[in-house]
């Protein structure tokens, strides 16, 4: 079974009378147990797609299914199976790392809450930070916190929105190792990133999104071939396809 199936997803926003097409007939599937990359320039529609996947945003048309259930109409069955890692949202002020993890643990059906908190702290190397106010964590530890929070609920699908953005080299390496280890635990991962090398290292398959449209989808080697030149890198394909898409938009 597919972990995720997006079919003909369309979403537009109105901004001061101007219509912005954030998603345009987006269709893709993510297989169970794979790390799936979603790459695209800023404003391409990555976060919009992730928000639709989480049920935080209603599509104008089309559908999103997670493990065979519709995200909007069967939300209560779908949401407990997934979680989100994003550095674009903040941390609730006034609670320690441990308290905040406990707070989020109450929101999921977890059998042994304290054990789950301890495991999450251990896996993400946050044990020594447990009494620190969460919002005072440095960016590297914040990312670890987001992952700890996400792992609490033992999700089958993890959405990771630029998990290594702004991190120093060493912390980024550790986060990537953590993402790799998720796959061995059978967790399906949807990863967005601006780092091509990271996508190449981690992802089984990648979709390129530009201006709300999926412009390519395949394995790293398949995408490299689309660049149309020998020894092409993923970056070459990315630039070729996203630039082409933007030029077509401008022509229209």
């Amino acid at each position: 079974m597919n972990a995720v199936l997006v079919s003909n997803a369309n979403k537009s926003f109105s901004d001061h009378g101007r219509v912005i097409r954030a998603l345009e007939n987006v269709s893709l599937d993510i297989r169970s147990g794979e790390i799936f990359g979603l790459l695209g320039p800023n404003g391409a529609g990555k976060t919009t797609l992730i928000s639709a996947l989480c049920g935080l945003l209603e599509l104008d048309s089309g559908s999103v299914e997670v493990f065979g259930k519709n995200v909007q109409t069967q939300r209560s069955e779908v949401i407990p199976q997934m979680n989100l890692v994003t550095g674009f949202a903040g941390l609730l002020h006034g609670l320690t790392v441990e308290d905040l993890l406990r707070y989020y643990s109450f929101l999921y059906p977890i059998k042994d809450r304290e054990k789950a908190i301890e495991e999450a702290l251990l896996v993400t190397n946050l044990v020594e930070k447990r009494k620190q106010m969460a919002y005072t964590l440095s960016s590297g530890y914040r990312q670890r916190f987001y992952i700890a929070k996400a792992l609490l609920s033992k999700p089958k699908l993890l959405l990771m929105d630029e998990p290594t953005v702004g991190l120093d080299v060493e912390t980024a390496i550790r986060i990537r190792e953590l993402v790799s280890s998720l796959k061995s635990q059978g967790i399906t991962v949807l990863l967005t990133t601006h780092y091509m090398a990271e996508a190449e290292q981690l992802c089984d398959r990648i979709a390129l999104i530009s201006d709300g449209k999926i412009v390519a989808l395949g394995s790293v080697s398949e995408l490299k071939k689309m660049a149309g030149k020998p020894h092409a890198s993923l970056e070459d394909t990315f630039l070729k396809l996203t630039k082409k898409n933007l030029e077509e938009e401008e022509d229209e």
Binding site: F13, L56, A89, H93, G94, Y103
Partner: protein, 256 residues
């Protein structure tokens, strides 16, 4: 514990942790309620020290706080997440708006109890105040609290829709509605059109219930019950409508 109850409890847990970790948050159940109380009781003492008037004012102020704590806690529970920019983390979880309201309602109720006890002890020793009829008082306080929840849900629905632009509502809605409900004065002193509006509020009839215990005001039980149910229904509908609209427009999370 049932999953829904646990999710509601999470909001109580958050509120409790925030309250106990920051002494300034206690102002909401100590300093501000005392300012409201003494600004009125001192004035009543100054103009005549009539024990019946003191009772009327103290009952009115207690009722006021019942509406306020219910309404404000529901709205502020959301605002805490907004100010921390953590709404995405909250709404990715299975929590439902009604569970947020339920958790905040318990938190607001506990704060009201703290304020009520503080008021009672202080006014008993300073003015010899006693609640004339505890049964009637409890019914009126419950009705006012439920109306506060209805206002809280209306505020929450508008916060979903308008986000920070609607924040002033959180801090003013309860007070505006209490003011036109005749907390410790008859609604007949209000301008005509405002009186008509006042009669459509369950709070007006609940305050009349409180006033009746000191021989002032008549009680319309049917209006109190029917209007309480209607306003609660409106509150729930506005919350759910605001939530769904926010998911459509992308305002629930900042994606646009």
């Amino acid at each position: 514990m049932n999953s829904g109850l646990l999710r509601a409890y999470s909001q109580l847990y958050k509120g409790g942790k925030l309250l106990f970790k920051n002494p300034f948050r206690w102002f909401d159940v100590t300093v501000w309620p005392l300012i409201l109380l003494f600004s009125l009781t001192l004035f009543v003492s100054f103009v005549g020290n009539d024990p019946r008037l003191v009772t009327l004012v103290v009952l009115g102020v207690m009722g006021w706080r019942a509406v306020y704590h219910a309404q404000f806690e529901v709205a502020n529970n959301y605002q805490e997440e907004f100010w921390s920019n953590s709404l995405t983390h909250l709404f990715i979880t299975p929590i439902r708006p009604i569970e947020m309201v339920a958790g905040a309602a318990v938190s607001g109720f506990l704060k009201f109890v703290i304020v009520f006890l503080m008021y009672y002890v202080l006014t008993f020793f300073l003015y010899g105040f006693v609640v004339p009829d505890i049964g009637i008082f409890l019914i009126a306080a419950l009705a006012l609290f439920v109306f506060g929840l209805s206002l809280g849900m209306i505020t929450l629905g508008l916060l979903f829709l308008f986000q920070s632009e609607a924040f002033p509502l959180s801090f003013s809605m309860a007070d505006v509605f209490v003011l036109i409900s005749g907390a410790y004065y008859p609604v007949s002193v209000l301008p005509g059109p405002v009186q008509a509006v006042a009669l459509l509020l369950p709070s007006t009839h609940a305050f009349n219930l409180l006033k009746s215990t000191v021989g002032m005001g008549s009680v319309d039980w049917v209006a109190l019950l029917v209007l309480s149910v209607v306003w609660f229904g409106i509150g729930y509908a506005v919350t759910m409508w605001g939530f769904h609209q926010a998911k459509k427009t992308g305002k629930l999370v900042r994606v646009a």
